[in-house]
Symmetry: C2
Subunit: 332 residues, 2 copies
Amino acid sequence: MHKGGLFLIKVGIVGYGNLGKGVQKAIAQNPDIELVAIFTRRQPDQLASNVDGVRFEHISTAEQFKGIIDVMILCGGSATDLPEQTPVIASMFNTIDSFDTHAKIPEFFNTVDAAAKQAGTLSVISTGWDPGLFSLNRLLAESILPEGKDYTFWGKGVSQGHSDAIRRVPGVKAGVQYTVPVQDVINRIRAGETPELTTREKHLRECYVVAEEGADQEQIRETIVSMPNYFADYDTTVTFISEEQLQSEHQGMPHGGFVIRSGVTGEGTKQIIEFGLNLESNPEFTASVLVAYARAAYRLSKEGISGAKTVFDIPLGYLSPKSAEELRRELL
Amino acid sequence: MHKGGLFLIKVGIVGYGNLGKGVQKAIAQNPDIELVAIFTRRQPDQLASNVDGVRFEHISTAEQFKGIIDVMILCGGSATDLPEQTPVIASMFNTIDSFDTHAKIPEFFNTVDAAAKQAGTLSVISTGWDPGLFSLNRLLAESILPEGKDYTFWGKGVSQGHSDAIRRVPGVKAGVQYTVPVQDVINRIRAGETPELTTREKHLRECYVVAEEGADQEQIRETIVSMPNYFADYDTTVTFISEEQLQSEHQGMPHGGFVIRSGVTGEGTKQIIEFGLNLESNPEFTASVLVAYARAAYRLSKEGISGAKTVFDIPLGYLSPKSAEELRRELL
């Protein structure tokens, strides 16, 4: 299981969008993990002709890889893909996914847990950075500083859901939305304040829009900023740009954010814990988290543990290719 | 084990210095944890007369609390107290300690592991914030971004060892030393640079010294800044102050620092993970970490697990008084 060792963790990828491509790249950075095949609902031959050295398979053939693949990394979306795929794949393989519909996590956990326990497999659900690393830090900070208040800020980064919402507005040809944390508020919290914050006070929304020719820009702007759920509760800016600008300046998928807990110990002694990410590529980073948890899932499964797990259930030592002795010597 | 519930985790404190007092305060913030007694090498009666509502016991009576105390939190120092105390107490109780002599951790682990396994107890060694939370973050960041470089910065904060070294210089009546991270270097790393840094480039050392009457200040300054191991490798400043200033401006024990990993994914995509602490009281914060790990030790022990453990071995969910369902619903 170690670098240069005899045993490699054999992994499959389900879904070949941005996240799946990120997982493929992350596996290449981890010498103890081997990519066996990428499973897709598309025509595998068509994908294979564009990408060298990778085996593509239709998702319907997955069952034939039982006993060959140790862990399947599921790279579909939370809206429709994962609720359907995770329980099915978990009935055959250990799985990792990044299910992120917060309100539905308890229900999703129960469904996957039942499927995995029945099959004797292990499924790590809802990992990545939020849910995932941010959740770990919310838990850690709250457990250490029970008297306090925590704040999660996202960005600056592209929100896929909000970008999709912009693109549905009549007269909009293309567009992208950035979620931007309000720096002044973050500075106040870092200085020890614990303000009660409205949605509007925490984040701004910046929209970059390419309008159809002849479209009424003022009408588009008004439709966007007053859209309920997505933009109405925020200070939203709309900037019209050319298609060329969109291509040259807005193709990256940066993201990041902070979890900050401001707490007190003793007689009002201020203590601040902060975790932050600054990511040039959200999908590549999320993919890297999934791959580290694939290593953990493999090990836990080898120990005979089954069922659904979250980041809260897994010792961090399981994420590393290093032995417990090496970790104590080098990293403690 | 829950708030208002029937079962409380019964804890003892061994050692009543700054850390022990911090643990006492932290227990008061955790309704599921009860302080049974504080064990000391001093005369327990003398301590009891100054502190209300707490039971003090001589350390020699600890054995009488077997079966009564669930976890002993060891608050002695790493130089001489813990190497002696942890194995002895671990042969009777679950323990938590903050052993922080990095080079000796492997040997300490083995000694404690043997004692705890023989006794069927569980010992969490070397927790706190470094080793402890910083170690967790070094491990997490390295596992997710295998290609990268990490940096640990400490401060601004008081270093006890360096303050002691100042006070041993002839002509020095009193003094305190602050370790100060070089902000400019941190900014460069946050911006994506991965510099190779010498000791001198990472931290400054600021000394505030009260000289004996008639002492040669220039001689004191020269002795401090050229002291091998402690100051010679750093840019060190020495400021002479009055005893009143020392009392009014330098009695706090602030500390903190950062673990930053700057890594790449894919084709040179920059990804930065950062964890930081800003602490008004180092001992109170360390104590709060020990108390959260006492909860984890209790639970692991109830599951029949024994031996020495580190922060790398323990799922973070064990630190919280909340159930796994609550954690998934509220924090994931």
